[in-house]
């Protein structure tokens, strides 16, 4: 049965070994689901968040995975709209990763809201003045689009495609994929931006507040750009990781190089704009509110090293590495640069979520520290477990890397 589901010419580990690989991830998911049950059954007092520290590990996770999952929309945009055909080699994997990231984020949001049965309220009683309303609408729609983009991969499974109706549906969906790629780009553009805008509009929080361009704060644009920049790096990183774990060549080196070049250029533009934004914030925006920027970095561990690490060490350096032809020729360095780029965005989202809330924003306020409860941590890890499970299953039974078979044949 298992053999007949695996794509022709693809070699996969034995079923018992595969099931053994799944066990720890399934255990992680099960523990997380128990934590979620506790949150639903007892309440959000199971977390260490409160009215003052309302955004914790979960929102940080959401922001991070949504940024990393941007590879799905951006690869789709490059392949279907800009016709960069070489990215066909990774589009399937990008869609699966995007689906995992977004479904994981939406799942955690449902727990974070605490009343998932009332989730529809946000659609029927939208607060149109809130960035979060736009985020909710975009996330929901984009997750639906990702599910539609995922469907053809499933329908193309070796056994399923023997059913004529399913095969033809896959064919027809593939024909209209350009429409979904376009919609995905539009939705991603706005929800990535709104997630950034969410912080940039906080007038009462001088650490997060930024100058506006039109109706949007600069963080709106920086979030879009950073997500687009790091998306291809994350695809590169995950493809390399899957290749290492499965001990297979999945894509040709040229694909890695294309992803690196795209990521490098976008990251460079992002770093330059982020640098300009930081300078404006340091010299104008923050002083205008009566707060010197130095005061934001007077609370250990949040020293100025955080800004340096975010912009230079994990921004400018990986951008330069990704753009270097010599580095691109060496897979090890390339992967290191991609990992650094991803780490930079992970740090950025941490700063925007956790540091913003930890810093005092009023004269009588004090620096707060927050550490997540085990329930929060378990739910966070459950998303990781869920992601590895779904990706592993997809990798085994779906053809995620169209070049894999040909590369295996070449030896």
């Amino acid at each position: 049965m298992d053999d007949t589901l695996i794509g022709r010419g693809l070699r996969r580990t034995s079923l018992p070994r595969f099931l053994l690989w799944l066990v720890p991830w399934a255990a992680l998911l099960a523990l997380g689901l128990y934590a979620v049950y506790l949150c639903f059954a007892i309440g959000l007092n199971q977390t260490n968040m409160d009215n003052r520290f309302a955004f914790g590990l979960w929102i940080y996770l959401d922001l991070t995975v949504i940024a990393l999952g941007a590879g799905a929309f951006f690869t789709g945009f490059l392949l279907y709209i800009l016709k960069k055909k070489e990215l066909k080699a990774v589009i399937n994997s990008a869609v699966v990763i995007g689906f995992i990231c977004y479904s994981g984020a939406v799942g955690i949001l449902m727990v974070d809201v605490g009343q998932p049965l009332r989730a529809w309220f946000t659609f029927w009683h939208p607060n149109v003045h809130s960035m979060l309303a736009e985020v909710t609408f975009c996330l929901t729609l984009y997750l639906s689009v990702l599910a539609i983009e995922y469907a053809p991969l499933v329908l193309k499974n070796r056994r399923l495609k023997e059913v004529p109706g399913l095969l033809v549906l896959e064919h027809q969906l593939h024909k209209v994929m350009v429409v979904f790629a376009g919609i995905g780009t539009l939705l991603s553009f706005f929800h990535q931006g709104s997630l950034g805008g969410l912080y940039g509009v906080l007038r009462g929080n001088p650490f997060a507040f930024r100058e506006h361009i039109g109706i949007w704060p600069t963080t709106f644009f920086l979030f879009i750009l950073s997500a687009a920049a790091v998306g291809p790096s994350f695809i590169l990183l995950t493809t390399w990781l899957v290749g290492k774990v499965s001990r297979k060549r999945l894509v040709s080196p040229e694909v890695f190089q294309t992803l690196a070049k795209i990521s490098g250029w976008l990251l460079l533009v992002y770093v330059v704009l982020k640098g300009i934004d930081s300078l404006v914030w340091i010299n104008s925006t923050s002083p205008k509110t009566g707060v010197q920027v130095s005061s934001f970095y007077a609370h250990p561990p949040f020293g100025t090293w955080v800004l340096f690490a975010e912009v230079v060490l994990l921004g400018l350096v990986p951008a330069a590495l990704l753009l270097s032809r010599r580095v691109r020729a060496r897979t090890g360095l390339l992967v290191l640069a991609a990992a650094m780029a991803c780490a930079g965005i992970v740090l950025n989202r941490y700063v925007m979520t956790i540091q913003t809330l930890a810093l005092p924003s009023l004269p009588f306020d004090s620096f707060l520290s927050y550490s997540p409860s085990w329930q929060e941590t378990a739910a966070f890890l459950a998303v990781l477990g869920y992601g590895v499970l779904l990706y592993s299953i997809s990798f085994r039974w779906l053809n995620l890397f169209p070049e894999e078979r040909e590369l295996a044949t070449k030896g």
């Binding site: 149109v128 033809v168 044949t409």
Partner: protein, 271 residues
């Protein structure tokens, strides 16, 4: 505007905000619905086999997509872009009209019978006197499959679509379909011992323009022998072309079991 929502204010900003999302939702649902309707229509019209064939053709390596006129040396290096459907191919029609005598071509050590027409997926077709056609597996595929563990034939009365599955074979770990060279109704099932596997009553006049015979078929088998050597040598980890000798009769025993499915799939043009 929103029943039960007393706080909602109908102003231009709200209408634009919700209108944009409603529009996106309509486009998503509309596109999905149109894909489902088109799929259903294609299935009802019996286009599923053609779609599968075209999809699998797109996934074939370039070496498996040689034009029949490349094999004969008339147009060296030409690749087929039409899923081996020569009926509407202008180049094919032109070359047929300008047909010149060409040197004989080695059939690669395979039997090419004069009364058979060969499909690129390794089925043969033979016209019978009663207007039906018989279908079978060509010499290369027969040697590759060996003695199959199972042969799944369609029942009498079932319909076949050109390039759709004619029958299925199971040999060890390999499960493959053999594409049909003709559309029609199955009127008799055969066996390897009978010399044919299916007897089919074709739909309308028999159109064999996409099939190969004679010198073209010989060239095809010569090319397929080369392709098989590459596929087989890759299975052993070292891509290399053999430079001498003759093919063994029982090719099936030369294929490692773990590669049998891939090798048969590649040779029978199933992705």
């Amino acid at each position: 505007m929103l029943p039960g929502n007393t706080d909602f204010i109908l102003d231009p900003a709200n209408v634009i905000f919700l209108g944009v999302f409603a529009l996106v939702l309509v486009v998503v649902v509309g596109t999905l619905a149109s894909a489902i309707v088109s799929a259903r229509r294609a299935v009802v019209r019996g286009q599923a086999a053609a779609i599968l064939w075209h999809e699998e053709f797109e996934e074939l390596p370039a070496s498996a997509r040689d034009c029949r006129h490349a094999m004969t040396g008339e147009m060296p290096g030409r690749r087929c872009e039409r899923a081996f459907d020569c009926k509407g191919c202008e180049t094919h029609a032109r070359l047929l009209a300008d047909a010149k005598p060409l040197p004989a071509i080695d059939a690669g050590g395979f039997f090419v019978l004069a009364d058979r027409l060969y499909h690129r997926g390794h089925a043969w077709l033979k016209s019978e006197e009663d207007g039906t056609v018989t279908l079978g597996l060509d010499d290369l595929a027969t040697r590759l499959v060996g003695t199959p563990d199972a042969l799944v034939l369609p029942a009498v009365g079932e319909r076949l679509a050109e390039n759709g599955p004619a029958f299925r074979l199971k040999a060890g770990k390999a499960r493959v379909r053999v594409a049909s060279p003709v559309s029609g109704e199955v009127v008799e099932t055969g066996s390897f011992a009978k010399g044919f596997l299916l007897r089919v009553k074709p739909d309308g006049p028999l159109d064999t323009r996409a099939l190969l015979s004679g010198r073209e078929a010989a060239a095809f088998f010569g090319r397929e022998r080369d392709r098989l050597q590459l596929v087989l040598s890759a299975a052993q980890g070292i891509p290399a072309l053999a430079d001498g000798g003759v093919l063994v009769g029982d090719l099936s025993s030369a294929i490692p079991e773990e590669d049998r499915d891939r090798v048969l799939g590649e040779m029978l043009l199933e992705a």
